[in-house]
Amino acid sequence: MSVIEHKEAPEGSPRRALARQTKPGRRQRGAHRNTFIAALPYLVPTALLYGYFLLYPMLDSVRISFYEWSGFRTQEPTWVGLENYVRLFTGADPVFWKAFQNSVIWVALAVLIPMTLSLLLALALNRKMIGRNLFRSVFYIPAVFASITVAAMWRWIYNPTLGAVNQVLEGIGLDSWTQQWLGNPKIALYSIFVAAVWQGVGFNMVLFLAGLQQVPPELVEAAKLDGARGPQIFRHVTVPALRPTFVVVLILTIINSLKVFDLVVGMTGGGPAQSTQVLALWSYSQSFSNHNFGQGGAVATVLLVISLCLVVPYLIWALKGEED
């Protein structure tokens, strides 16, 4: 059926001939309706599950954000209009701003540091060398660990007296650098970020490696024949060919930064003194620890809006790009 709307239908195919005979407009509409009915059995179970357990809860957060509710079944939610948002944006909830600020810092750092690192690793490991697969594995393996597990590991590594970081610093005579890595409100967020870099670089590296396979070798050869040198080839051949990969990695990095949750829960729980609070965790804490589903919903709505502002343009770009 798809043949009708597909340009590359073979010239002699009977359906093609049929399509030419009938009036194109009517024919097309009828075909669309038929394909839609045929598609329903394949689409409906999936769409129902997805809609009911994912899409609807996401949108329901917006509804809840207009109510005040403890989350207990015995209590009825009361409508409070925009009050929850007023609290957020007038500074009545200082933790929200701290969380917002931390999420922004996290996004900025994540775009700068792990992206650069993973690109460098991918470029280096794209060469043929001894032990290449072993290297790739070492950098990738942290990515298959659960974030909550990585958090538990790093909590031990950061342990003030027995942890590896402080012991290594003492061992090389930098005693004054030893820290309460997760206990100092000024640096705790960055300590968590280091664990995130350790875990996340491998995945981006694999994406970049995949992107590098797309760099046409003929182009590199041609550039060389024209006398281009290494840096020039990199700038004028490799970088343009990597552009789609850059966009994918960038979007995924930003989205994943907004999703940071497990690592913070596992390493500091948002503390000390809410200094490592992030939006995703604050929404959760407001609902489930502070029994304030309305406030939690408002934070979730802010997070939803930020995510959609990033995701929707990206999706339009991605889906337009692969036009049929």
């Binding site: 059926m1 798809s2 239908a9 073979p10 839609f36 045929a38 598609a39 394949y42 689409l43 179970p45 769409a47 009911y52 357990f53 994912l54 609807y56 809860p57 996401m58 957060s61 470029l123 060469r127 032990g131 070492v138 950098f139 990738y140 942290p142 298959v144 659960a146 909550i148 597990t149 958090a151 538990a152 031990w156 027995l162 590896a164 012991q167 290594v168 350790w198 995945f203 040198r229 290494g230 990199f234 490799t238 789609p244 979007i251 999703k259 949750f261 829960v265 995703a280 965790l281 929404s283 609902s287 489930f288 939690g296 995510s307 959609l308 929707v312 991605a318 889906l319 692969e322 049929d324």
Partner: protein, 298 residues
């Protein structure tokens, strides 16, 4: 910086190679790069080494020795302790059960939807696809509060079945997106000729499209298994009683309640990751393929 060195070195090597014929020049840049990589890889592996060393140390050893010292005696009993304290068999069985029900079922559902979207291109199918994909990119924490209410209303809170339903929904978007790309790449002539031979839509789906998508399905199976095994946020929201816990909940509880029991804590962490490590080592190439498909399709 390294980027330029890489390409320069590469260019230099092939250039020299052409001029000098058989004689192999020493590739100093390459050697320097290799050493830098070796050092970085060692740094990357360090947390694993520390974790293993701690997992076989007694409490006395942990207090007296440095992190990088070998233990005076290898105390494998930490592992047995960890299995008991962390309830490893029960939580492991829960995680495995959930993953083994969720992953195949989820893939089947996702392939159905992807097939409908890619092969039966009805009007506005791209809008529907977009709606599906949005869900994979919005942080799941946005949905947790209402999801809790939904499960409460359905009386499915604190049950493994109750966790599988949102897990299915959670995995669908990404898989639909991936499989959509894969199904779309199948030439139209293939199912056209099948249809002319009288095959139904279902047979086209089941006997033509699904078998062709086997590599993509394998990659998604692996990725989804790891993601399901590792999922924490929804599990901690929806599960309460310890007998229903999955591995990530057990890890978190172990690390907060027996935090000073460093030896067995690290032993537990290692054991909790064994299944995903096995899966990774056995199916390494699928990880690359999965990421590859993602990078190409966008």
């Amino acid at each position: 910086m390294a980027a330029t060195t890489v390409t320069t070195a590469h260019a230099a090597r092939t250039h020299l190679g052409r001029e000098a014929g058989r004689r192999k020049p020493r590739d100093w840049v390459g050697i320097g790069l290799w050493i830098a990589l070796l050092l970085s890889a060692l740094a990357w592996a360090m947390p694993f080494i520390f974790m293993f060393l701690t997992s076989v140390k007694s409490k006395a050893d942990i207090n007296a020795l440095s992190t990088w010292d070998l233990p005076t005696t290898f105390l494998w009993a930490n592992y047995a302790d960890a299995i008991d304290t962390g309830n490893l068999w029960e939580t492991g069985a829960n995680s495995l059960l959930i993953a083994l029900v969720k992953v195949p079922l989820g893939l089947l559902l996702a392939s159905g939807a992807a097939f409908a979207l890619a092969r039966l291109r009805f009007r506005h199918h791209k809008v529907v696809l977009g709606l599906f994909v949005v869900g994979s990119m919005v942080p799941i924490q946005v949905a947790l509060g209402p999801l809790f209410n939904t499960m409460l209303r359905l009386d499915l809170l604190d049950s493994r079945a109750g966790l599988i339903l949102p897990y299915l929904a959670f995995g669908i978007p990404y898989q639909v997106f991936m499989l959509y790309g894969f199904f779309k790449a199948i030439p139209d002539e293939l199912d056209e000729s099948a249809r002319i031979d009288g095959a139904s839509t279902f047979r086209v789906f089941w006997q033509i499209c699904l078998p062709l998508a086997r590599p993509a399905l394998a990659a998604l199976f692996i990725l989804d298994f790891v993601a399901t095994w590792n999922e924490y946020a929804m599990a901690t929201t929806l599960l309460q009683s310890q007998s229903n816990w999955t591995i990530p909940l057990a890890v978190q509880s172990f690390s907060s309640q027996h935090a000073t029991d460093y030896g067995s804590l690290n032993a537990f962490i290692i054991m909790s990751a064994v299944p995903v490590l096995i899966v990774y080592l056995m199916f390494q190439r699928y990880f690359v393929q999965g990421a590859f498909a993602g990078a190409v399709k966008g």
